[in-house]
């Protein structure tokens, strides 16, 4: 097991290095940062000078090596857009994204499990069928459209909820939280639903199918035969056994939520790292893009590692192969 973990960590480092290399090879296709940095009255000399100072004339492996050298020391460079250290900007923006991800993840998990259990127990009931079908609407429209529709209904027509931003935030040390004010909490609702809808549907369907499977296993049948209450059977025995796949999938999905909050943050002008990234793409802010991608890969790689370890631990069949992996 230890050897497996060590080998996987080693592989993970290689993955990270590869991500960086791919990232740097593609930045020049995103555009030319100089176009945004200088105004329309700039001269060719201005452009050349800035290009030289920013090291954009070097081949991308050189740029990448320089980035790596600094990144190892915790220096992710200076944002072209904001002329500030990237690490500082990401630290400022991270709480917004993490809080949003947490709330939508929590929402997806609780509602998803609840509805999943319900639709499994009432497998053939009309309510369960309606929920199953209706939940698909959420994954049958693009996220940006769902967001805009929610804004239109709850923000503009009903005026119940804010249409953009985080509302008032309270600063706790370097962490800014929207959990402590009313406007902060209200601002969270629409983006959290938009972001979590897909995962909610997913978890609900997963719980349902796992529950259906577990419910027809022998030990559940025995439990029923022994006369245990339905509630106890459903929740204490059946649900418990569906949790491992749900947890692993949720783990992977948590990564997806954070990584793909980009669209939701754009629609709701949510001041998180996703919005930062999309702005960086538009502005060709290479240091920000690089740092963001590295951060996301670290997260993905770590989650994958944990999930794989969990699998090996849970499923003995995979343990043999784990040795070769």
């Amino acid at each position: 097991m230890l050897a497996f973990i060590i080998r996987r960590v080693f592989q993970s480092v290689i993955v990270l290095l590869a991500v960086g290399l791919v990232a740097f090879s593609m930045f020049r296709f995103v555009g030319d940062p100089i176009e945004n940095l200088l105004g329309q009255e700039r001269t060719v000399q201005d452009v050349e000078r800035l290009r030289e100072t920013l090291g954009l004339n070097d081949p991308f492996p050189v740029q990448y090596a320089r980035f790596l050298g600094r990144a190892v020391q915790g220096d992710f460079g200076i944002s072209y857009r904001q002329s500030r250290p990237v690490a500082q900007i990401i630290a400022e923006r991270a709480p917004a994204t993490l809080e949003l991800a947490f709330v939508s993840g929590f929402l997806a998990l609780t509602v998803g499990i609840g509805l999943g259990v319900f639709t499994a127990i009432r497998r053939d009931g009309w309510a369960a069928n309606v929920i199953m079908s209706a939940s698909l609407i959420g994954v049958s429209l693009p996220t940006f459209l769902i967001g805009i529709l929610l804004i239109y209904v709850f923000g503009v027509q009903l005026r119940w909820l804010p249409t953009f931003g985080r509302g008032e935030v309270v600063q706790l040390g370097w962490w800014s939280t929207g959990f402590l004010t009313q406007s902060g909490l209200k601002s969270l609702i629409l983006p959290a639903i938009t972001l979590g809808l897909f995962q909610m549907t997913l978890i609900m369907r997963l719980v349902r199918s796992e529950m259906l499977e577990v419910l027809r296993q022998d030990y559940i049948r025995f439990a029923r035969a022994r006369g245990l209450a339905a509630k106890s059977v459903n929740f204490r025995h059946a649900l418990k056994n569906t949790m491992v796949p749900v947890i692993t999938v949720t783990g992977l999905q948590l990564g997806a939520i954070i990584a793909f909050a980009i669209i939701t943050e754009t629609v709701f002008q949510w001041p998180g790292v996703g919005l930062l990234f999309i702005n960086a793409v538009q502005f060709v802010d290479i240091p920000v893009m690089a740092a963001y991608l590295m951060l996301i890969s670290v997260m993905f790689v770590m989650i994958n590692l944990l999930v794989d370890i969990l699998y090996v631990w849970v499923d003995p069949r995979l343990r043999i192969d784990g040795r070769h992996a």
Binding site: V19, F144, R317
Partner: protein, 329 residues
């Protein structure tokens, strides 16, 4: 855009058989079709409706030139002054009437949906096919061969997961612009979309197939095939592949819906189908600009079409998952 669950745990574990492949494949599939699938289909009204809607939309797309009233991709038929005609109301400038209205370019929304559906379905099918072939191949290789092959493939999958599809799309657009001659660029955008969506989608196929392969390859029938001296390639293709296909089929169905939506999202971020030949997703992206201004039909009809399509395909996927899972009988 999405990452479906690793279906090693949710996929069905097909019954183990020791027959040789020649006997197993045709009879097994026909048996399922005759007995299980068809029966299940006949007894699921939801699946029947979904299949009907899907089929109707696919046919409408294929025969768009016959059922559409105009060809919105033919510039000579367009008149900009027809723009923003409301459904069923004669245009103030030209007096023409369009039953589903027109968009900002004066294109008939009904015809544009039909032609857009064509592009969306084509992009969706091809992207999923691309992801499926790539993912299944790599997944089989990883699961069966193990060792370094597996390590490299699965770590490449990790790298792939890290890149948002928007960035992949930008990259491919950038390279394509550099190397493809201009006369092919009209079609290029479509292929770039297919590549971008397919590339961000193959990982889930690979993961599922690898997981299922890991389980399958230790079973007696595979061991037996190995003992009688079959080559690895033959074993993978004729023994393992048929047994991991059902989860793949389920994922493919759901991916199709997701690919069509992903195309809309890419369009929202500015790298979608060309505006002269809008896909369903591009229509929605254009239409959402008119949500507040009262020209609701530009968004509403394409959105309903996308919803009907994605919903039907998803419902079919749902039904397929249950029907192919022998333990849920």
């Amino acid at each position: 855009m999405s990452d479906l669950p690793d279906a090693t745990r949710q996929g069905p574990k097909p019954t183990e058989r020791l027959e040789t492949a020649e006997v197993v494949r045709p009879s097994r599939w026909r048996a399922i079709w005759d007995a299980d699938l068809a029966w299940s289909f006949r007894h699921s009204p939801v699946a029947m409706v979904a299949a009907f809607v899907t089929l109707a939309l696919v046919l409408a797309a294929i025969f768009a030139p016959l059922v559409a009233t105009t060809n919105p991709f033919d510039p000579s038929s367009l008149n900009l002054m027809n723009g923003f005609s409301a459904p069923g109301v004669p245009n103030a400038f030209t007096g023409e009437t369009f039953w589903l209205g027109t968009d900002d370019q004066g294109r008939d929304v009904y015809s544009t949906i039909l032609y857009g559906l064509r592009i969306s379905l084509f992009v969706g099918f091809m992207a999923v096919l691309f992801a499926l072939v790539l993912g299944v191949t790599l997944g089989l290789l990883a699961g069966y061969l193990g060792g370094w092959t597996e390590t490299v493939i699965m770590r490449v999958a990790d790298v792939q997961l890290t890149f948002p599809s928007i960035l992949v799309a930008l990259l491919i657009f950038g390279i394509a612009r550099g190397i493809i001659p201009i006369e092919y660029r009209d079609q290029m955008a479509i292929w770039v979309l297919i590549l971008a969506i397919g590339l961000s989608d193959w990982v889930q196929f690979a993961r599922v197939v690898r997981g299922a392969t890991l389980v399958e390859k230790n079973k007696e029938y595979v061991q037996a095939a190995r003992l009688i001296g079959r080559s690895s390639g033959a074993i993978m293709l004729r023994h393992i592949l048929p047994n991991v296909l059902s989860p793949v089929l389920v994922i493919a169905t759901i991916s199709l819906a997701l690919a069509i939506i992903a195309e809309a999202t890419l369009s929202f971020l500015g790298v979608g189908a060309p505006p002269t030949q809008p896909s369903l997703g591009t229509l929605i992206r254009i239409g959402q600009d008119f949500l507040f201004s009262g020209e609701w039909w530009i968004l509403f009809f394409p959105a309903c079409t996308l919803l009907a399509l994605a919903l039907s395909v998803n419902l079919l996927g749902d039904w397929l998952r249950d029907a192919l899972n022998p333990r849920l009988k």
